[in-house]
């Protein structure tokens, strides 16, 4: 068994408004000079450390977990998982 690190990112679906991202965009515009920024989306990240036989298994466990425990609400969120070193 070895330790693995996973990053679970939960963000709003494209069709749900993201007031936080919008506010940051607005603040940027007020502060000027940031018109190169075309979008800001906010989300939540969980950094998880877990034991598994290998990376593949670790990732599978994470996917099972986020689905089974509704770490994200599929009505409103999308979820991605990245294994990191």
């Amino acid at each position: 068994m070895a330790k693995f690190n996973a990053e679970v990112i939960i963000e709003g679906k494209k069709n749900a408004r993201d007031p936080e991202g919008e506010t940051i965009m607005r603040d940027l515009m007020i502060k000027h000079g940031y018109d190169m920024v075309s979008s800001v989306r906010s989300g939540k990240i969980l950094k998880i450390t877990l034991e598994a036989k290998n990376e593949k298994e670790a990732e599978d466990i994470c996917w099972n977990m986020v689905n089974e425990l509704r770490i994200y609400n599929p009505v409103a969120h999308v979820c991605t998982i990245k294994m990191v070193k």
Binding site: T23, R26, D27, I30
Partner: protein, 747 residues
């Protein structure tokens, strides 16, 4: 002991403090002992500067059950019930990390109430910040509000009020004071003491980490840069765990299995094991490795002084340990038995079979006081108390009124208190923003009584005239609770000042305390506790904060249904002004906002009549003769009238001619901040009775005008000419929305 010791010149204590330590011990302290002594001798824990001054405050009264010296004041409110309340500062942590600083401030003050055995039911908060338009102020305000809100909301304790002042002296060193109150059956009173040798010492709650460790001076030299950045990590509050601790603690008290109870705040475990031993006349012995630590490499001294949040310390009879563990288990709260009470008078700490601490408890709890010098501050020489501004022309008054209502210190605080749950608990009858004081009913505790609570401060007046400023805030806070119909019964204070080693600062401290004390005596309102925060000094600009006492006054209503708020109720009702108006505009909003001046006479409390006025106000409200009531304070008569009109969505027409005053100037009648004045509205048929209540004591009660249906503010001068005519909607719009616009970047 075969422990490594700390040499005399390595320990950060004053000469006198060292003297006491070495004389008592007759040896060099060990590293953990030195750390414990340093933290317990700190200004924050030892009150070394303030201790000689605080006894000026009156602390006795028929209702007082616990005065200063316990974690919170306790007063008898009848029906077998007691009110517990306390106010505390969290200034320095909040200036650096406003969110966690304010949140853990709330966490700490809740613990103070809980550890007396009471269910905390209400919170208050006071902010002192730089100018609102400043970006740094906005950043602080945004996050302290969120810190107070997130913590209080999550533990389910309702907000009952607070106050905010904006002034450039708080730009960097902001002041964040928080208060909490709770109610309990008198029999449930829990004290922070360990009276019986053999009783077990239990630590409940969160694990212990390096949070809030200042870094003892002798130890810091060995620390590499890397560890320095992890050390003294900011304290993170955990309101969810706090909620479970509250329920578990109250359940344990109810089950009768708690002998002594102490919260862990400043100085953590050190404070708990020494104060409970000293107060109980016993000793304590603990096994340090029993404490759950969060970081493997913590040194024993760090564990002893850590200020990690969400921990409580219990003294429990051996026979009751099983019962109390069952309660903790129900809430899945971790705990451990650290050791037990002894009869040695000492605090002994063992670690891996070695004794690492062996100190007399009183050496930790009763360090020597410091002898501070006080000298008259130079800046006061420059002030001219006789100064009066040039009288404005009548046609300038509309503008002046508008400016005052839109100023930082006048505008609505709704943006802040909307973020607080003001309803949870079903207690709040008069809510934040509705009156001078918050009113809570106590039906949950089986009585129809009510509690009125308020925070008050006036840093500007305390700066310009510390004595009268101090007395003034006491009068004003008591007026706040009287205005809603409650008799003021006790107060607790939080004294925020600069560096006490600066004699000119210390002088202002002494004068403020004298002012508070004299007013408290005149009003018959005892001080049952408090807190002192020194060293509020902005190093960068080298300025101290203005002297900023904040006080928390609690009042009692016999029948909570009699409470009134400050909104006009219906057109045609009469407006009555209680009290005389004097030419007292020093430190007033008018002087500050319109004339940018520090000159003028700061309002003085009329000690001889103060108590009577409040008594009569309370009587008038309780006899049901008034439909709304408001005390006159910041901004004077004009602001008080306007606030009542805006709250009721009605207008008024008032004549200045009928105002008893020592002047004929309209601006002074409108904006003077003379204490002991109230505005009340009454139905025509109740007028005679109302006026006669005040007439008994020769207190002026003057009819000055009426509420109007037309939503206009109309004020006539002594010649009955209209000098102010404004639309309520216009004024209200700016007043309502300015803070939100500033905070939401719409400005």
């Amino acid at each position: 002991m075969t422990q490594e010791t700390v040499l005399r010149d390595e320990i950060n204590l004053t000469k006198e403090e060292k003297e006491v330590v070495y004389k008592t011990l007759n040896r060099e302290p060990t590293i953990p002992e030195a750390a414990m002594l340093e933290v317990m001798n700190s200004e924050h824990c030892s009150y070394k500067s303030s201790r000689p001054v605080l006894p000026k405050l009156p602390t006795e009264g028929p209702r007082v059950i616990c005065g200063p010296g316990e974690d919170a004041g306790v007063v008898d409110i009848g029906d077998g019930l007691a009110l517990v309340f306390k106010l505390e500062s969290h200034n320095h942590p909040s200036a650096l990390d406003p969110f966690n600083g304010a949140a853990t401030g709330i966490g700490g003050i809740i613990r103070d109430i809980l550890c007396m055995g009471a269910r905390p039911i209400g919170l208050l908060d006071s902010f002192r910040l730089g100018d609102l338009s400043d970006p740094h102020t906005k950043w602080l305000l945004k996050w302290v509000t969120k810190g107070v809100g997130d913590y209080g909301n999550c533990v389910g304790i309702s907000n009952a009020g607070g106050d905010i002042e904006f002034d450039p002296s708080f730009q960097i060193n902001c002041l964040i004071n928080v208060g909490c109150f709770g109610v309990m059956r008198k029999d449930d009173l829990a004290l922070s003491r360990a009276t019986t040798p053999g009783d077990k010492l239990i630590l409940l709650g969160g694990s212990t980490g390096r949070d809030g460790i200042g870094g003892a001076s002798f130890a810091s030299k060995n620390i590499t840069e890397d560890s320095e950045s992890d050390r003294g990590a900011v304290q993170i509050g955990d309101p969810y765990m706090k909620k479970l601790i509250i329920e578990a603690t109250l359940e344990a008290i109810k089950a009768g299995v708690v002998e002594g109870l102490k919260d862990l705040g400043a100085a953590g475990v050190t404070c708990s094991i020494s104060e409970t031993a000293d107060a109980g006349g016993t000793g304590t012995e603990i096994q340090l490795e029993k404490i759950r630590i969060r970081e493997d490499d913590m040194e024993p001294w760090e564990i002893l002084v850590s200020e990690s949040q969400e921990r409580m310390f219990f003294v429990v009879k051996p026979d009751n340990v099983k019962k109390i563990s069952k309660i903790f288990d129900k809430y899945e709260l971790p705990y451990e038995i650290l050791g037990e009470v002894t009869d040695t008078g000492k605090c002994v700490v063992k670690y891996r079979d070695q004794t690492i601490v062996d100190l007399p408890a009183h050496l930790l709890t009763k360090p020597p006081a410091a002898d501070r010098k006080a000298t008259y501050p130079k800046y006061l020489n420059k002030l001219n108390q006789k100064w009066l501004p040039k009288e404005p022309k009548d046609n300038e008054l509309n503008d002046i009124c508008r400016k005052i209502m839109a100023s930082d210190n006048m505008i609505s605080r709704e943006w802040v208190y909307r973020q607080y749950d003001t309803e949870v608990g079903l207690h709040s009858v008069v809510k934040s923003g509705q009156a001078d004081a918050g009113v809570f009913r106590l039906s949950e505790f089986g009585t129809k009584k009510g509690i009125a609570v308020t925070f008050d401060g006036n840093s500007n007046q305390c700066y310009l005239d510390p004595y009268n400023g101090g007395a003034g805030i006491m009068m004003e806070a008591c007026s706040n609770v009287a205005a809603v119909g409650a008799e003021p019964i006790a107060m607790t204070d939080c004294l925020n000042f600069g560096n006490p080693e600066h004699p000119q600062v210390f002088w202002t401290f002494e004068k403020v305390v004298e002012g508070l004390a004299d007013a408290a005596k005149a009003l018959g309102v005892p001080c049952v506790g408090g807190n002192v925060s020194f060293y509020n000094h902005d190093e960068v600009r080298d300025v101290a904060v203005k002297p900023s006492p904040v006080i928390f006054v609690a009042g009692l209503l016999d029948d909570v249904e009699k409470a009134v708020n400050n909104s006009f109720k219906s057109p045609e009702e009469f407006i009555i002004l209680i009290g005389d108006t004097n030419t007292e505009i020093g430190g007033s909003e008018y002087t500050k906002v319109i004339h940018s001046s520090d000159d003028g006479q700061v309002p003085k409390v009329d000690f001889a009549n103060a108590k009577n006025v409040l008594k009569k106000v309370v009587k008038a409200v309780n006899e049901g003769l008034v439909t709304s009531s408001h005390d006159i304070s910041k901004g004077g008569l004009f602001v008080a009238l306007t606030e009542m009109a805006m709250a009721g969505n009605l207008g008024f027409k008032v004549g200045l001619k009928r105002i008893p005053a020592d002047t004929q100037r309209s601006d002074i009648k409108l904006f003077s901040e003379t204490h002991g004045r109230f505005l009340m509205t009454a139905k025509q048929e109740d007028m005679d009775k109302l006026i006669s209540i005040f007439a008994e004591d020769e207190i002026p009660a003057s009819y000055i005008g009426s509420v109007t249906k037309e939503k206009k503010l109309i004020i006539e001068n002594d010649e009955n000419q209209v000098i102010v005519e404004l639309s309520i909607e216009d004024i209200k719009h700016v007043w309502d929305t300015r803070m939100e616009e500033e905070m939401e970047g719409k400005k």
